[in-house]
């Protein structure tokens, strides 16, 4: 069974923000809400690494655990989605999320934040798939079209991988093998728990 996951290859990510605008364009996300962002570590000095981050669709999703109205659910493919009709905009999911994924459309005085918005893995929400209502509330439903998230599909250097966890782990493993050295995957453990590290950092023999 497919288990949808994201993986960002820090050796490839060049902080071009393609994923950010791909998401904005695909879902027409308004100014001020960013379902995805790119963060750069050691900016401007040797060791600079960039990472594209959004909802990681965690296995043990903290947002889901703390939601006072239980508006989150997980699909058969492991995508964490939420129901905006239920959401009360309390912001707890944002406190709990390790990745800062939940976004709110309003400034929030008196706690008025509007309905939470976040990456849907391009899988819409609990409205009729590919309907106008679904698009308006959650954006496009690419999975229901047999496609994968726009951000990963358009990544300029194919640093951001999104899709079936096994497949992307294989893709990543091939790269690590080519590079000939071990590597670590950012965020994987946090999002998907310990267990089998998807991209086994088995160091290839030195050539």
């Amino acid at each position: 069974m497919a288990r949808m996951k994201f993986l960002c290859d820090a050796e490839r990510c060049i902080e071009c923000n393609g994923c950010v605008t791909a998401c904005k364009s695909e879902h027409e996300v308004p100014w001020g809400v960013n379902r995805r962002r790119v963060v750069t570590i050691n900016d401007g000095v040797p060791g600079e690494k960039s990472i594209s981050v959004a909802c990681m669709h965690c296995s043990d999703a903290p947002c889901m655990a703390v939601c006072p109205v239980d508006c989150f659910y997980r699909t058969d493919d492991g995508v964490v989605l939420h129901d905006k009709d239920l959401c009360i905009g309390c912001g707890y999911c944002f406190y709990a999320c390790p990745f800062g994924a939940p976004q709110f459309p309003q400034a929030g005085a008196f706690g008025l934040r509007g309905k939470m918005d976040k990456c849907t893995f391009c899988n819409g929400g609990p409205e009729k798939d590919r309907s106008a209502e679904e698009f308006q509330k959650y954006g496009r439903n690419r999975l229901a079209e047999g496609k994968l998230p726009a951000c990963a599909e358009m990544c300029s250097t194919k640093a951001l991988l999104g899709g079936d966890g096994d497949v992307i782990a294989d893709i990543y493993r091939e790269r690590v093998f080519k590079r000939g050295k071990g590597s670590e995957v950012w965020g994987w453990g946090t999002a998907y728990g310990p267990g089998k590290p998807a991209a086994a950092p088995s160091p290839a023999p030195k050539s």
Partner: protein, 979 residues
């Protein structure tokens, strides 16, 4: 706590903000709104519907109605030269989505921030485009009709022409025009009767084109982005590909993953540097010293490719002498600041990992000695034997999406399409192709001006401001047409404002003309017109990527608002100005370019026919084989092309039955001969390992057969695979073909046409066909020139920038002498340098400029795109923590950046170690602030970009390349102070 981003105060007009942040607390809350928001009176379902989730308010919000007609249009991104293919999903004529084209061998579906958000250009709701023709009247922008605009503009132009002659007009074309439009504009300007036309290539790669063409033949990227996958070493020197050409990094990083070494040398630790194996920091403006510093170690250790040099390079010994004498490690370290050990390491890496590329963009070209810098790069690659083979050469990253094509066949002051210099023979050739009477054409020009290269875009302001007796044409410039050009990409902004004040007429034709409009409206009350042009997504045509591949764009949507396609505007203006027939080649019952119905049923020149006319005349650089049919077949069958070689292993186009086998993707020029002979295009230039009919070649014989008794032709054995002539040979003409006994291979018709012609002027293509049949290259087989004799410095020479922080080095490495007449204008070198010898005391920091990934060029269109604008809301100056600390500047504060011009820029400080302590960096995409003042009042209503900021070029200083008048923007001096 984020929840909602605060848009910066300058970030967005209120209208835009309120769309994004509807219901934020910024506004007062009335009772109704309060109840609505708090949900106190409504049920849950209703609350959900009411609570603002403003994902969609746009009219075209995609309802997947089964009735909606969905079409997929394949186009190419308009933002840079990589050539990323895009599938546009169009529903009922509205562009609703875009999908990645995984099949494309160039980008494999990948996009950067600009490509992924390109759909914004087609969105009409809340668009920041110019929507109607406008006229500046009493300091206000007033909407007028197209007809009124045309008649007023043409009346004024004809009046000026009558009073001052055709040279009083200057037309700035665009690297964003597709090939056909560029070509038509080039023709348009000549039919008007002047050479005073230019486009962004002047200020981006003119030095490359001149320098590289003079070294070995063609002034273009030798290989392709893809070919880096075959490379062992990449030296990025003067290119920040990760921000300027992000998708090219897909190939770079793939190569790196497979063992290729990546070195970045730059004054900044760029995002490209972050991905490199090795980074070297060099002082801005010391490029020749750096390159020859590397060459010193290569010669010193005997790492040069001696056989290669002997067979294929002229003058390397002379270079060697000069390098060993002048560029010893101590001197190089003094000039560039790079220690000997690091230089040696880089040289060693280059030597041990061949083939390899040197990669550059504006970091090398925009210098007063840019021509020398690029030649030094070429010489370095020649010494290593890297040029003319897969995986090696000079990968020159062009900027705009079609700057390569516009350079090849577009509006240039010194050449007609295909680099036919403005000589009588060239005009005769093109008059024949254009089906225009040569005599009439000659009569359009002012006497004696037809064969004189025109004014350059970098200097039009001087052609307005300079004393009349100092310029090499009768009138000063009185009218300027900006046809897709941003004023803020030109240096010396202060003086441009002065020039605008003196103009009689300014016409701006652009989808986003606002920077020019605002500047002009700030300078004066009247005298300007704005015409809304369609984007490249609203027309069809071919576009040449940096790797010389041509791709065909389908029209995605109709021109939005009241905009018209560029070719329509050209034709309609030509009608008013009296040369419409000539523009479409209508004479003696023949018409080259048919007229088709465009927007609103109005006639415009047919794009496919235009390309066919280009095919008929552009023999020099092989724009002859790329027929619209072949290009379209390539676009439909991208999946058959190999990513590493760009070659189709097989495949047949389902629609036309065209057999793609053996073609290189996009038929990278030169694609010699007519389309019928099926030359596959040349993926790598000068590659002797391939047959010329497989895209192989050798260095061009363009400078005679010998120089002072030294053979300039290639030595025996260094010919392209399968050539029947195994020695060097000159370029072909009818005489040589006859001498070789190949004349009878021509058909009778071909013979008739080819008689008395050479490979460049034979319109039948017979000479090229026959020569290639014999495995030979039409342009001959010669050596590359490490030394040239038609440039001021035969061997490239380091010369200190005009504004240098090192007076001691100015004395040792002075710039050129002043030139009285260069491209019709006096040009200063030494005077400026000497006058500013000690400018470093007052302005101790080097100021350099460059790209941001989110924006492009002058930035007007990308700063109008909310999805991009949100990411970069303020212009900034990168300053080293030490320099900042010395000045009491903190990160994020506003600072004043001042330069010796007296201009002051108000930008935010970005304190970072990305730049060294002696250097500052400002991105060049911003405009809309003028020395701290927001120019918003001067913009036409609704056409101001979302993000405005200080343009770095308001403050850049004087300085032009000695050969091409490329502007100096990469090295000048500044001071930074707390605002």
């Amino acid at each position: 706590m984020l929840l909602t981003r605060k848009a910066g105060s300058q970030a967005a007009p209120q209208r835009r903000l309120s769309r994004g942040l509807a219901g934020s607390m910024a506004k007062t809350i009335d009772r109704r709104a309060f109840l609505k928001r708090s949900g106190l009176t409504l049920g849950a379902g209703a609350v959900a519907a009411q609570l603002p989730f403003n994902m969609i308010e746009r009219a075209e919000a995609a309802n997947e109605k089964p009735a909606g007609k969905v079409e997929i249009k394949r186009t190419v991104c308009t933002h840079c030269s990589v050539g990323c293919a895009i599938d546009a999903v169009v529903q009922n004529g509205v562009w609703v989505r875009q999908e990645p084209v995984f099949d494309s061998p160039l980008n494999l579906g990948a996009h950067c921030a600009k490509g992924a958000s390109i759909r914004e250009h087609g969105i009409t709701h809340d668009s920041h485009r110019l929507k109607e023709p406008m006229k500046l009247e009493g300091g206000k922008w007033k909407t007028i009709s197209w007809d009124q605009a045309y008649s007023e503009i043409s009346d004024k132009l004809l009046k000026i022409k009558k009073e001052s002659g055709p040279d009083a007009l200057f037309v700035v074309g665009s690297s964003k025009h597709n090939n056909e439009q560029s070509y038509l504009l080039c023709k348009w300007v000549r039919l008007w009767g002047t050479n005073n036309t230019d486009h962004q290539a002047r200020i981006c790669h003119s030095t490359t084109v001149a320098g590289i063409a003079n070294t070995w033949g063609y002034g273009a990227m030798t290989n392709s982005y893809n070919d880096e996958q075959n490379s062992k070493c990449l030296l990025f020197f003067g290119s920040n590909a990760a921000e300027a050409h992000p998708v090219s990094m897909l190939h770079t990083l793939h190569a790196k993953e497979n063992g290729c070494k990546v070195i970045v040398a730059d004054p900044r630790f760029t995002r490209t540097a972050a991905k490199a194996d090795k980074y070297v920091r060099a002082r801005s403006g010391t490029d020749v010293a750096f390159l020859f510093g590397l060459l010193y170690h290569i010669f010193n250790n005997g790492w040069e490719d001696k056989e290669y040099i002997k067979a294929r390079v002229y003058g390397m010994d002379k270079v060697r002498e000069e390098v060993m004498a002048k560029y010893t490690p101590d001197k190089v370290q003094d000039v560039t600041g790079v220690p000997e050990q690091e230089m040696l390491e880089v040289a060693k890496t280059l030597a041990e990992n061949r083939p390899g590329f040197i990669i550059w963009a504006m970091g090398q070209t925009q210098h007063t000695n840019g021509n020398a810098v690029v030649r030094a790069s070429a010489v370095l690659m020649l010494a290593l034997g890297n040029v003319g083979r897969p995986g090696g050469g000079t990968n020159i990253y062009r900027g705009h999406d079609n700057v390569q094509g516009a350079t090849d066949i577009g509006p240039n002051p010194d050449s007609l399409p295909g680099y036919y210099g403005v000589a009588p023979g060239s005009f005769a050739h093109w008059a024949r192709v254009w089906n225009v009477d040569l005599k009439w054409l000659q009569s359009q020009f002012a006497p004696g001006q037809m064969t004189k290269p025109g004014i350059t875009v970098s200097r039009w302001i001087d052609a307005v401001l300079e004393k009349n007796e100092n310029i090499d044409q009768d009138p000063n410039i009185r009218a300027v047409v900006y046809w897709g050009h941003a004023p803020n990409s030109q240096s010396r902004g202060l003086e441009m404002l002065e020039a605008m004040k003196k103009l009689d007429l300014m016409v701006v034709i652009d989808p986003y003309p606002s920077a020019s409009a605002a500047m002009f409206a700030m300078a004066r009350k009247d005298g300007a017109y704005l015409l809304p042009a369609a984007t490249q997504l609203e027309t069809s045509g071919s576009v040449t990527a940096s790797n010389r591949s041509l791709q065909w764009r389908e029209q995605v949507i109709e021109p939005v608002f009241n905009s018209r396609t560029d070719q329509m505007i050209m034709y309609q203006l030509a009608q008013k100005l009296g040369f419409a027939d000539q523009l479409v080649g209508k004479k003696d019952g023949k018409q080259n370019i048919k007229l088709v119905k465009g927007k609103g049923g109005m006639e415009e020149p047919d794009i496919e026919d235009t390309l066919r006319e280009i095919n008929r005349g552009t023999w020099t650089i092989g724009y002859t084989g790329q027929s619209p049919e072949r290009l379209q077949a390539h676009m439909r069958n991208m999946h058959v092309f190999d990513v590493k070689t760009l070659r189709a292993k097989g495949g047949k186009d389902a629609k036309t039955g065209y057999d793609l086998t053996g073609d290189y993707f996009g038929l990278p020029w030169p694609c010699y001969g007519t389309a019928a002979i099926k030359h596959p295009g040349s993926p790598n230039l000068y590659d002797t390992t391939k047959h010329v009919m497989d895209g192989g070649g050798n260095f061009r014989a363009n400078f005679g057969v010998d120089k002072d008794g030294v053979n300039l032709l290639a030595e025996d054995g260094s010919h392209s695979k399968g050539a029947e002539i195994t020695t060097g040979y000159p370029e072909f003409d009818h005489v040589l073909v006859k001498k070789l006994g190949w004349w009878d291979d021509l058909t009778e018709d071909e013979k008739k046409e080819a008689e008395g012609k050479n490979w460049k002027t034979d319109l039948s293509g017979g000479i090229q066909r026959v020569v290639m049949k014999h495995g030979c290259h039409p342009f001959g087989n010669a050596k590359a020139r490490a030394v040239v004799w038609n440039f001021p410095d035969g061997v490239p020479l380091h010369r200190e920038p005009l504004y240098s922080p090192r007076p001691d080095l100015i004395d040792k490495w002075p710039t050129h002498d002043d030139v009285k007449n260069l491209w019709r204008l006096p040009t200063l070198f030494k005077t400026v340098q000497q006058k500013n010898r000690d400018a470093g005391k007052q302005f101790p920091l080097i100021l350099t400029s460059g790209r941001l990934v989110e924006y492009e060029g002058g930035g007007e269109e990308t700063r109008s795109n909310p999805w991009l604008a949100e990411l970069q809301q303020d212009n900034f100056v990168e300053i080293n923590p030490k320099a900042a600390a010395d000045r009491g500047i903190r990160d994020g504060e506003y600072v004043w950046v001042s330069t010796p011009t007296g201009a002051k820029l108000k930008v935010k400080a970005q304190v970072t170690e990305r730049v060294g302590a002696d250097t500052c960096f400002i991105p060049f995409h911003f405009s809309g602030w003028w020395q701290g003042q927001d120019m918003l009042p001067f913009y036409p209503d609704g056409a101001a970009p979302i993000v405005r900021g200080e343009a770095v070029n308001t403050a850049t200083t004087y300085g032009y390349d000695r050969v091409t008048l490329m502007q100096e923007t990469k090295t000048t001096l500044c001071q930074v102070a707390k605002a």
